[in-house]
């Protein structure tokens, strides 16, 4: 060290600077240690919060599975509801849910994507579009029963659509519309300006930019929002009860596909129906404990389907975003 010092005599100043850092090194180390302790404390708190949420869900799910275990068989899915709990099944409920979801999807996706795209790409940015933006975000927080009341007035009484699959699908479609709009806008906004400018710079029109770029790069995010919205719609009960879904149905709606031309049939849209959460609610409200087993099995099924949908959303987002780096 001393030899090193003597060979470097002309550059005295830097050595002094070094020495002062060295002198403070203990203090620096103590400080880093203190800051790291904060990291540690936070990670413990965060983990506990996460575990609390996860464990609650897990225990709930485990409880449902244990209670409903004896109904986990195909017969449960292929039988209509019945006065005898052991013979009762979910056939009309899951078919109803599937058809309602189909309408919901067909309503929410085109409308939500078009609205999000318009707001983000076409609408002039002024106080009016700000107002719309705030309102769309607020709509996502409106209690779902309010949508039910709106639907009862508009779809059932004014438009005369009846207590039908169409009414339910429209209602849930409106309910998840804000989710689709917001996720559409966010995925669109994530596309860098440089990419848009690149497209415009080679002479693309606005619609070419939207169609060839904006939609192509954002559909992963849009799809994620759609699936999460659909998963929410699947479990919605209040608005469906409000519009007057039936609780005991021992028939299926007319099939959407037929064996005579034109092979599709829209009668199912005006059919009465029930859905999974309503069937569950119905069984739960019976005094006979045997029906509670059915309810638990239904609850477990809803959770499984919801988790599968969310899992698909996560997988798709990962897969689609893999090719896009910004």
């Amino acid at each position: 060290m001393s030899k090193h010092m003597t060979t470097n005599t002309p550059t005295k100043a830097p050595i002094q600077v070094q020495a002062s850092v060295l002198k403070n090194l203990d203090a620096v180390r103590a400080m880093i240690k203190r800051h790291k302790l904060n990291d540690y404390i936070f990670s413990v708190i965060g983990l506990l919060a996460l575990m609390f949420a996860l464990l609650t869900l897990l225990i709930l799910f485990g409880d449902l599975v244990m209670d409903g275990f004896e109904r986990f068989n195909l017969k449960f899915l292929s039988e209509f509801p019945s006065r005898r709990a052991a013979n009762a099944g979910l056939l009309s409920a899951w078919v109803g849910s599937a058809l309602v979801m189909l309408v919901t999807f067909l309503v929410a996706v085109p409308m939500g994507v078009a609205a999000g795209l318009y707001l983000e790409e076409y609408a002039p940015k002024n106080w009016f579009s700000d107002l719309i933006e705030i309102n769309v975000t607020n709509l996502a927080g409106v209690p779902s029963i309010v949508y039910g009341l709106l639907a009862l007035g508009l779809f059932v009484y004014i438009l005369g659509l009846g207590q039908s699959i169409l009414t339910a699908g429209l209602t849930l479609g409106l309910l998840i519309l804000p989710i689709v709009i917001v996720s559409t806008r966010e995925s669109i906004r994530a596309i860098p300006i440089a990419i848009r400018e690149a497209a415009y710079a080679v002479g693309a029109t606005k619609w070419q930019v939207v169609y060839d770029h904006v939609l192509k790069y954002s559909y992963g995010g849009i799809l994620t929002g759609v699936i999460i919205g659909m998963a929410r719609a699947l479990g919605e009960t209040a608005p469906i009860i409000t519009i007057g879904a039936l609780t005991f149905i021992a028939f299926l709606p007319p099939s959407p596909v037929t064996d005579v031309a034109p092979f599709i049939n829209f009668e199912w849209l005006s059919s009465g129906f029930t859905v999974l959460p309503i069937q569950m609610f119905n069984w739960l409200s019976r005094p006979d404990h045997a029906f509670h087993i059915n309810a638990a099995a239904t609850g477990a099924l809803i959770i499984i389907v919801t988790l599968l949908m969310n899992g698909t959303a996560i997988y798709l987002r990962y897969k689609i975003r893999k090719n896009i780096k910004w």
């Binding site: 990419i195 080679v202 090719n323």
Partner: protein
């Protein structure tokens, strides 16, 4: 360097530009672009170089509230490309642009280059293949990517991505090509490649390049313009600007006393 025979390809006349917040970024700029020459724009950061360049392909039209005053006349047809009746898309079909940071689309190498042609309605596969190959060759990228044209553009290096962007801008046979600090995100070797490329490209088209690298301006350009606070301070052939500038401010900037 003196070119008495040069033809003017485009010319800005009393060009003012106002951003939507009311800020005047260009003040009465009069400047020619000579055909098959490289014109370099230099000047301190924020002086309006990019603003000026982006007037040439009406990029400012993408954002509401921006305002041009004055003219940019293109020859030989004498079109004032800033005129209201002239569609910005038509202007961008004639004048292409390469940006500061490489900005390829998240698509294949092939689709990146073909995009400008697709926008123009070209869908013949043979035609597209030929044009893509020609553009990639023109951008000195063909040898590196000819066997992997379907790979994602993001898998290329930064310098290759920038040459891909040049190929994309080249594929549509533009009359003028704009470069906004095209090498500022690149390493010295990639920079040298791009500079060499620009010197080749000027055989075919007219180039306007913004650079904050004085050596680059001196190396590649035929004419140099020095801008300061939205005004064109001095314009001359590059040799004169770098060896014998008329104005003191230009000399100070070039010699690094200022900026």
């Amino acid at each position: 360097m003196q070119n008495t025979t040069s033809i003017i390809k485009a010319q800005s006349k009393n060009l003012d530009f106002f951003y939507s917040n009311g800020m005047q970024a260009l003040k009465s700029v009069n400047m020619p672009l000579y055909e098959n020459k490289i014109t370099a724009l230099i000047g301190p950061s924020g002086c309006g170089k990019s603003t000026f360049l982006r007037c040439f392909n009406r990029m400012h039209d993408l954002y509401p509230g921006n305002k041009y005053q004055g003219e940019i006349v293109m020859h030989p047809d004498n079109t004032n490309i800033l005129e209201h009746g002239v569609d910005p898309i038509e202007v961008r079909m004639r004048i292409s642009m390469v940006f500061q940071k490489p900005n390829p689309f998240p698509k294949s190498i092939y689709e990146n280059v073909a995009y400008g042609l697709r926008v123009r309605g070209e869908s013949n596969k043979r035609m597209l293949d030929d044009k893509v190959e020609e553009a990639l060759k023109g951008a000195a990228l063909w040898n590196e990517v000819k066997d992997r044209q379907q790979d994602l553009a993001f898998n290329l290096s930064g310098g290759q991505q920038q040459r891909l962007c040049i190929a994309r801008a080249l594929a549509t046979d533009p009359e003028i090509m704009l470069f906004d600090e095209p090498t500022s995100a690149l390493d010295p070797i990639a920079t040298a490649n791009i500079e060499e490329l620009m010197s080749e490209l000027k055989q075919k088209l007219t180039i306007l390049v913004v650079t904050h690298n004085m050596q680059q301006a001196a190396r590649v350009s035929d004419y140099t313009a020095y801008m300061y606070l939205g005004e064109l301070m001095e314009y001359d052939d590059t040799n004169t600007i770098f060896t014998n500038p008329t104005r003191k401010e230009t000399e100070d900037y070039i010699t690094g006393k200022f900026g």
